[in-house]
Protein backbone atom coordinates (compact mmCIF):
# COMPACT_ATOMS: atom_id res chain seq x y z
CA UNK A 1 0.00 0.00 0.00
CA UNK A 2 1.27 3.44 -0.90
CA UNK A 3 -0.28 6.83 -0.25
CA UNK A 4 0.13 9.77 -2.62
CA UNK A 5 -0.87 13.21 -1.34
CA UNK A 6 -2.95 15.12 -3.89
CA UNK A 7 -3.93 18.10 -1.75
CA UNK A 8 -2.94 19.07 1.75
CA UNK A 9 -3.90 22.16 3.71
CA UNK A 10 -4.48 22.94 7.37
CA UNK A 11 -7.80 21.09 7.55
CA UNK A 12 -8.08 19.36 4.19
CA UNK A 13 -6.45 16.21 2.87
CA UNK A 14 -6.90 14.43 -0.42
CA UNK A 15 -4.93 11.22 -0.88
CA UNK A 16 -4.68 8.51 -3.48
CA UNK A 17 -4.25 5.06 -1.94
CA UNK A 18 -2.48 2.65 -4.23
CA UNK A 19 -3.54 -0.95 -3.74
CA UNK A 20 -6.70 -0.29 -1.73
CA UNK A 21 -10.36 -0.62 -2.71
CA UNK A 22 -13.87 -0.40 -1.34
CA UNK A 23 -12.92 -2.87 1.41
CA UNK A 24 -10.72 -0.43 3.27
CA UNK A 25 -12.05 2.91 2.06
CA UNK A 26 -15.68 2.29 2.93
CA UNK A 27 -14.65 1.15 6.40
CA UNK A 28 -12.49 4.25 6.91
CA UNK A 29 -15.18 6.58 5.59
CA UNK A 30 -17.66 5.22 8.12
CA UNK A 31 -15.18 5.55 10.96
CA UNK A 32 -14.22 9.09 9.91
CA UNK A 33 -17.84 10.20 9.85
CA UNK A 34 -18.34 8.91 13.38
CA UNK A 35 -15.97 11.67 14.50
CA UNK A 36 -18.02 14.84 14.98
CA UNK A 37 -15.03 17.08 14.26
CA UNK A 38 -14.86 15.69 10.74
CA UNK A 39 -16.70 17.98 8.34
CA UNK A 40 -16.57 15.95 5.15
CA UNK A 41 -15.21 12.47 4.53
CA UNK A 42 -15.62 10.44 1.40
CA UNK A 43 -13.88 8.43 -1.25
CA UNK A 44 -14.17 7.86 -4.96
CA UNK A 45 -12.86 5.26 -7.35
CA UNK A 46 -12.89 7.17 -10.64
CA UNK A 47 -12.61 4.05 -12.78
CA UNK A 48 -13.29 0.55 -11.43
CA UNK A 49 -10.44 -1.10 -13.34
CA UNK A 50 -7.72 1.46 -13.87
CA UNK A 51 -7.72 3.80 -10.89
CA UNK A 52 -6.94 3.81 -7.21
CA UNK A 53 -9.38 5.16 -4.62
CA UNK A 54 -9.11 8.82 -3.65
CA UNK A 55 -9.98 9.67 -0.05
CA UNK A 56 -10.98 13.20 0.85
CA UNK A 57 -11.17 14.46 4.43
CA UNK A 58 -12.07 17.94 5.68
CA UNK A 59 -12.01 18.61 9.40
CA UNK A 60 -13.06 21.37 11.75
CA UNK A 61 -9.96 22.99 13.26
CA UNK A 62 -8.11 22.38 15.49
CA UNK A 63 -8.38 18.69 14.39
CA UNK A 64 -5.91 17.86 11.65
CA UNK A 65 -7.13 15.59 8.85
CA UNK A 66 -4.13 13.27 9.32
CA UNK A 67 -5.06 12.83 12.97
CA UNK A 68 -8.69 12.21 12.02
CA UNK A 69 -7.54 9.45 9.65
CA UNK A 70 -5.29 7.91 12.31
CA UNK A 71 -8.17 7.99 14.77
CA UNK A 72 -10.46 6.31 12.22
CA UNK A 73 -7.92 3.56 11.52
CA UNK A 74 -7.45 3.07 15.24
CA UNK A 75 -11.19 2.55 15.75
CA UNK A 76 -11.41 0.17 12.81
CA UNK A 77 -8.49 -1.78 14.30
CA UNK A 78 -10.23 -1.92 17.65
CA UNK A 79 -13.40 -3.35 16.11
CA UNK A 80 -11.31 -5.88 14.19
CA UNK A 81 -9.48 -6.88 17.36
CA UNK A 82 -12.73 -7.33 19.24
CA UNK A 83 -14.13 -9.41 16.39
CA UNK A 84 -10.96 -11.50 16.26
CA UNK A 85 -11.08 -12.18 19.98
CA UNK A 86 -14.77 -13.06 19.90
CA UNK A 87 -14.06 -15.41 17.01
CA UNK A 88 -11.21 -17.06 18.89
CA UNK A 89 -13.42 -17.62 21.93
CA UNK A 90 -16.18 -19.04 19.73
CA UNK A 91 -13.85 -21.44 17.94
CA UNK A 92 -12.25 -22.66 21.15
CA UNK A 93 -15.58 -23.36 22.81
Amino acid sequence: MKIKVLKRTENELKIEVEGAGHTLCNLLQKKLLENENVDVAGYDIPHPLTSNPIIYVRTKSPLKPEDALLDAVERAKEMNKEFGEALKRLLQA
Binding site: I15, T23, L27, E66, L69, L70, F83, A86, L87
Partner: protein, 273 residues
Protein backbone atom coordinates in the same frame (compact mmCIF):
# COMPACT_ATOMS: atom_id res chain seq x y z
CA UNK B 1 -20.87 -5.19 22.78
CA UNK B 2 -19.60 -7.45 20.04
CA UNK B 3 -20.99 -10.95 20.15
CA UNK B 4 -20.73 -14.01 17.94
CA UNK B 5 -22.93 -17.07 17.85
CA UNK B 6 -22.68 -20.12 15.63
CA UNK B 7 -25.91 -20.89 13.82
CA UNK B 8 -24.55 -23.66 11.66
CA UNK B 9 -21.13 -25.20 11.34
CA UNK B 10 -19.80 -28.23 9.51
CA UNK B 11 -16.81 -29.15 7.35
CA UNK B 12 -17.54 -26.59 4.64
CA UNK B 13 -20.28 -24.30 5.95
CA UNK B 14 -20.29 -21.65 8.61
CA UNK B 15 -23.21 -19.42 9.58
CA UNK B 16 -22.58 -16.86 12.28
CA UNK B 17 -24.81 -14.40 14.06
CA UNK B 18 -22.72 -11.28 14.52
CA UNK B 19 -24.00 -8.50 16.76
CA UNK B 20 -22.33 -5.20 17.55
CA UNK B 21 -20.54 -4.45 14.27
CA UNK B 22 -21.48 -2.01 11.51
CA UNK B 23 -22.14 -2.71 7.82
CA UNK B 24 -18.77 -1.44 6.49
CA UNK B 25 -16.90 -3.75 8.86
CA UNK B 26 -18.82 -6.94 8.09
CA UNK B 27 -18.62 -6.01 4.39
CA UNK B 28 -14.85 -5.60 4.66
CA UNK B 29 -14.60 -9.11 6.11
CA UNK B 30 -16.84 -10.47 3.35
CA UNK B 31 -14.76 -8.81 0.64
CA UNK B 32 -11.45 -9.93 2.15
CA UNK B 33 -12.66 -13.54 2.29
CA UNK B 34 -13.45 -13.34 -1.43
CA UNK B 35 -10.41 -11.47 -2.70
CA UNK B 36 -7.54 -11.61 -0.22
CA UNK B 37 -7.48 -14.94 1.63
CA UNK B 38 -5.02 -17.12 -0.30
CA UNK B 39 -5.59 -20.70 -1.37
CA UNK B 40 -4.01 -23.11 -3.82
CA UNK B 41 -4.93 -23.72 -7.44
CA UNK B 42 -3.17 -25.14 -10.47
CA UNK B 43 -1.54 -22.21 -12.21
CA UNK B 44 0.79 -23.63 -14.82
CA UNK B 45 0.54 -26.81 -16.86
CA UNK B 46 3.17 -28.48 -19.00
CA UNK B 47 1.37 -30.70 -21.51
CA UNK B 48 3.57 -33.57 -22.55
CA UNK B 49 1.04 -35.36 -24.68
CA UNK B 50 -2.55 -34.51 -25.45
CA UNK B 51 -4.41 -36.41 -28.12
CA UNK B 52 -7.82 -35.83 -26.54
CA UNK B 53 -10.54 -33.79 -28.22
CA UNK B 54 -10.00 -30.79 -25.94
CA UNK B 55 -7.34 -28.17 -26.65
CA UNK B 56 -4.41 -27.84 -24.23
CA UNK B 57 -5.71 -24.46 -23.01
CA UNK B 58 -9.12 -25.84 -22.13
CA UNK B 59 -7.62 -28.70 -20.17
CA UNK B 60 -5.32 -26.24 -18.36
CA UNK B 61 -8.32 -24.05 -17.51
CA UNK B 62 -10.32 -27.03 -16.22
CA UNK B 63 -7.38 -28.10 -14.06
CA UNK B 64 -7.10 -24.58 -12.66
CA UNK B 65 -10.68 -24.63 -11.43
CA UNK B 66 -10.27 -27.81 -9.36
CA UNK B 67 -10.33 -26.87 -5.64
CA UNK B 68 -7.19 -28.10 -3.89
CA UNK B 69 -6.74 -28.77 -0.17
CA UNK B 70 -4.40 -26.00 0.91
CA UNK B 71 -1.64 -25.88 3.50
CA UNK B 72 -1.32 -22.16 4.30
CA UNK B 73 1.44 -22.58 6.88
CA UNK B 74 3.74 -24.80 4.84
CA UNK B 75 3.77 -22.75 1.65
CA UNK B 76 4.55 -19.17 0.65
CA UNK B 77 2.86 -16.92 -1.84
CA UNK B 78 5.09 -16.87 -4.96
CA UNK B 79 5.65 -13.10 -4.70
CA UNK B 80 6.69 -13.42 -1.04
CA UNK B 81 8.83 -16.54 -1.41
CA UNK B 82 12.56 -16.31 -0.78
CA UNK B 83 13.36 -18.16 -4.03
CA UNK B 84 12.48 -15.08 -6.11
CA UNK B 85 12.17 -17.41 -9.06
CA UNK B 86 9.53 -17.18 -11.74
CA UNK B 87 9.41 -20.94 -11.88
CA UNK B 88 8.96 -21.43 -8.11
CA UNK B 89 10.55 -23.72 -5.54
CA UNK B 90 9.48 -26.42 -3.07
CA UNK B 91 8.16 -23.73 -0.72
CA UNK B 92 5.83 -22.02 -3.17
CA UNK B 93 4.83 -24.71 -5.64
CA UNK B 94 3.34 -28.20 -5.62
CA UNK B 95 3.81 -30.48 -8.61
CA UNK B 96 1.04 -32.75 -9.85
CA UNK B 97 1.43 -35.36 -12.56
CA UNK B 98 -1.26 -37.00 -14.66
CA UNK B 99 -0.88 -39.88 -17.07
CA UNK B 100 -3.94 -41.61 -18.51
CA UNK B 101 -4.49 -43.53 -21.68
CA UNK B 102 -7.60 -45.09 -23.17
CA UNK B 103 -6.67 -48.43 -24.68
CA UNK B 104 -9.65 -50.49 -25.85
CA UNK B 105 -12.42 -48.71 -23.98
CA UNK B 106 -13.09 -44.94 -23.63
CA UNK B 107 -12.13 -43.59 -20.20
CA UNK B 108 -12.92 -40.45 -18.26
CA UNK B 109 -10.02 -38.65 -16.63
CA UNK B 110 -10.96 -37.47 -13.14
CA UNK B 111 -9.32 -35.07 -10.69
CA UNK B 112 -8.45 -38.16 -8.63
CA UNK B 113 -6.01 -39.18 -11.38
CA UNK B 114 -3.76 -36.26 -10.47
CA UNK B 115 -0.79 -37.51 -8.47
CA UNK B 116 0.58 -34.97 -6.00
CA UNK B 117 4.18 -34.78 -4.80
CA UNK B 118 2.82 -33.87 -1.34
CA UNK B 119 0.07 -36.22 -0.11
CA UNK B 120 -1.46 -33.43 2.04
CA UNK B 121 -2.06 -31.23 -1.01
CA UNK B 122 -4.63 -32.97 -3.17
CA UNK B 123 -7.88 -32.18 -4.97
CA UNK B 124 -10.83 -31.71 -2.60
CA UNK B 125 -12.86 -34.19 -4.61
CA UNK B 126 -11.62 -37.15 -6.65
CA UNK B 127 -14.68 -37.17 -8.85
CA UNK B 128 -14.34 -34.00 -10.92
CA UNK B 129 -14.24 -34.98 -14.62
CA UNK B 130 -11.46 -33.32 -16.63
CA UNK B 131 -11.82 -34.88 -20.08
CA UNK B 132 -13.14 -38.02 -21.76
CA UNK B 133 -10.61 -39.99 -23.77
CA UNK B 134 -11.64 -42.04 -26.78
CA UNK B 135 -9.93 -45.28 -27.81
CA UNK B 136 -6.20 -44.76 -28.37
CA UNK B 137 -6.18 -41.21 -26.97
CA UNK B 138 -3.68 -40.18 -24.32
CA UNK B 139 -3.22 -37.37 -21.82
CA UNK B 140 0.08 -36.82 -20.06
CA UNK B 141 0.95 -33.64 -18.23
CA UNK B 142 2.66 -31.97 -15.31
CA UNK B 143 0.77 -29.27 -13.39
CA UNK B 144 2.02 -26.76 -10.83
CA UNK B 145 -0.26 -25.50 -8.07
CA UNK B 146 0.52 -22.22 -6.36
CA UNK B 147 -0.99 -20.03 -3.69
CA UNK B 148 -2.86 -17.04 -5.02
CA UNK B 149 -5.59 -14.55 -4.20
CA UNK B 150 -9.15 -14.32 -5.42
CA UNK B 151 -8.60 -10.78 -6.72
CA UNK B 152 -6.32 -12.19 -9.42
CA UNK B 153 -8.46 -15.14 -10.49
CA UNK B 154 -11.64 -16.75 -9.13
CA UNK B 155 -9.85 -20.12 -8.95
CA UNK B 156 -7.98 -18.73 -5.95
CA UNK B 157 -11.16 -17.98 -4.00
CA UNK B 158 -11.29 -20.28 -0.98
CA UNK B 159 -15.07 -19.90 -0.84
CA UNK B 160 -18.01 -20.49 -3.11
CA UNK B 161 -20.14 -18.18 -1.01
CA UNK B 162 -19.38 -15.31 1.32
CA UNK B 163 -22.32 -13.13 2.26
CA UNK B 164 -24.01 -11.21 5.02
CA UNK B 165 -27.56 -10.10 5.68
CA UNK B 166 -29.29 -8.11 8.36
CA UNK B 167 -30.90 -9.95 11.22
CA UNK B 168 -34.67 -9.61 10.63
CA UNK B 169 -36.98 -8.16 13.27
CA UNK B 170 -40.60 -9.32 13.10
CA UNK B 171 -43.21 -7.70 15.31
CA UNK B 172 -46.75 -9.02 15.51
CA UNK B 173 -49.31 -6.70 17.08
CA UNK B 174 -51.25 -9.02 19.38
CA UNK B 175 -54.18 -6.60 19.65
CA UNK B 176 -54.73 -6.23 15.91
CA UNK B 177 -53.91 -9.81 14.91
CA UNK B 178 -56.92 -12.14 14.85
CA UNK B 179 -54.81 -15.18 13.91
CA UNK B 180 -56.42 -15.62 10.48
CA UNK B 181 -53.23 -17.39 9.39
CA UNK B 182 -52.96 -15.67 5.97
CA UNK B 183 -49.39 -14.57 6.72
CA UNK B 184 -48.45 -18.11 7.78
CA UNK B 185 -49.70 -19.49 4.46
CA UNK B 186 -47.98 -16.80 2.36
CA UNK B 187 -44.52 -16.95 3.92
CA UNK B 188 -42.26 -18.75 1.42
CA UNK B 189 -39.64 -19.56 4.07
CA UNK B 190 -42.04 -20.89 6.73
CA UNK B 191 -40.90 -18.33 9.27
CA UNK B 192 -44.30 -18.07 10.94
CA UNK B 193 -46.58 -20.64 12.53
CA UNK B 194 -49.97 -20.63 14.19
CA UNK B 195 -50.25 -22.10 17.64
CA UNK B 196 -52.95 -21.78 20.30
CA UNK B 197 -54.81 -19.08 18.35
CA UNK B 198 -51.69 -16.95 17.99
CA UNK B 199 -49.21 -16.32 15.19
CA UNK B 200 -45.62 -16.87 16.26
CA UNK B 201 -42.17 -16.52 14.74
CA UNK B 202 -40.63 -19.99 14.65
CA UNK B 203 -37.63 -19.60 12.33
CA UNK B 204 -36.40 -16.01 12.41
CA UNK B 205 -33.07 -16.70 10.67
CA UNK B 206 -34.81 -18.05 7.56
CA UNK B 207 -36.67 -14.77 6.95
CA UNK B 208 -35.57 -12.95 3.79
CA UNK B 209 -37.54 -9.79 4.64
CA UNK B 210 -39.68 -10.13 1.51
CA UNK B 211 -42.66 -8.66 3.40
CA UNK B 212 -45.20 -10.92 1.69
CA UNK B 213 -46.69 -11.48 5.15
CA UNK B 214 -47.19 -7.73 5.58
CA UNK B 215 -49.11 -7.56 2.26
CA UNK B 216 -51.11 -10.70 3.04
CA UNK B 217 -52.43 -9.36 6.35
CA UNK B 218 -56.08 -8.26 5.90
CA UNK B 219 -55.82 -5.75 8.77
CA UNK B 220 -55.28 -2.11 7.78
CA UNK B 221 -52.62 -1.11 8.72
CA UNK B 222 -50.98 -4.52 8.80
CA UNK B 223 -50.78 -6.29 12.16
CA UNK B 224 -47.37 -7.69 11.25
CA UNK B 225 -44.28 -5.57 10.81
CA UNK B 226 -40.97 -6.70 9.28
CA UNK B 227 -37.83 -4.74 9.95
CA UNK B 228 -34.19 -5.38 10.62
CA UNK B 229 -31.71 -4.88 13.43
CA UNK B 230 -29.19 -2.19 12.53
CA UNK B 231 -26.06 -3.73 13.97
CA UNK B 232 -26.76 -7.44 13.79
CA UNK B 233 -25.88 -9.63 10.85
CA UNK B 234 -26.02 -13.20 9.69
CA UNK B 235 -22.69 -14.00 8.08
CA UNK B 236 -22.68 -16.95 5.70
CA UNK B 237 -19.56 -18.64 4.46
CA UNK B 238 -19.35 -21.70 2.24
CA UNK B 239 -15.85 -23.06 1.68
CA UNK B 240 -14.85 -24.90 -1.49
CA UNK B 241 -13.03 -27.33 0.79
CA UNK B 242 -9.62 -25.75 0.16
CA UNK B 243 -9.53 -24.45 3.73
CA UNK B 244 -11.79 -24.99 6.74
CA UNK B 245 -14.29 -22.09 7.01
CA UNK B 246 -13.05 -21.19 10.50
CA UNK B 247 -9.53 -20.78 9.16
CA UNK B 248 -10.75 -18.59 6.28
CA UNK B 249 -12.49 -16.09 8.54
CA UNK B 250 -9.57 -16.06 11.00
CA UNK B 251 -7.21 -15.30 8.10
CA UNK B 252 -9.53 -12.52 6.91
CA UNK B 253 -9.33 -10.81 10.32
CA UNK B 254 -5.53 -11.08 10.23
CA UNK B 255 -5.34 -9.63 6.71
CA UNK B 256 -7.59 -6.67 7.62
CA UNK B 257 -5.42 -5.94 10.64
CA UNK B 258 -2.31 -5.99 8.44
CA UNK B 259 -3.89 -3.63 5.91
CA UNK B 260 -4.94 -1.17 8.62
CA UNK B 261 -1.43 -1.26 10.07
CA UNK B 262 0.06 -0.54 6.65
CA UNK B 263 -2.33 2.39 6.26
CA UNK B 264 -1.28 3.82 9.64
CA UNK B 265 2.38 3.61 8.65
CA UNK B 266 1.69 5.41 5.39
CA UNK B 267 -0.23 8.21 7.14
CA UNK B 268 2.66 8.59 9.57
CA UNK B 269 4.94 9.10 6.52
CA UNK B 270 2.59 11.78 5.19
CA UNK B 271 2.69 13.55 8.56
CA UNK B 272 6.49 13.55 8.52
CA UNK B 273 6.72 14.95 4.98
Amino acid sequence: MLELKTLESDETNLRLLVTGVDTPYINAIRRIVLTEVPCMAIDEVVIIENSSVLHDEIIAHRLGLIPIKTDLDGYNLPEECSCRSEFGCNLCRVTFTLDREAKDEPVTVYSGDLVSENPNIAPVSDKIPIVKLGRGQKLKLEAYARLGRGKNHAKWQPVSLSAHKHLPKIRIDAEKCNACGKCVETCPRKVLAKSKGKVEVVDLYACTMCRDCVDACPEEPSAIEVNWEKNAFIFILESTGALPPERIITEAVKILDRQLKEFTDQIAEVQKA
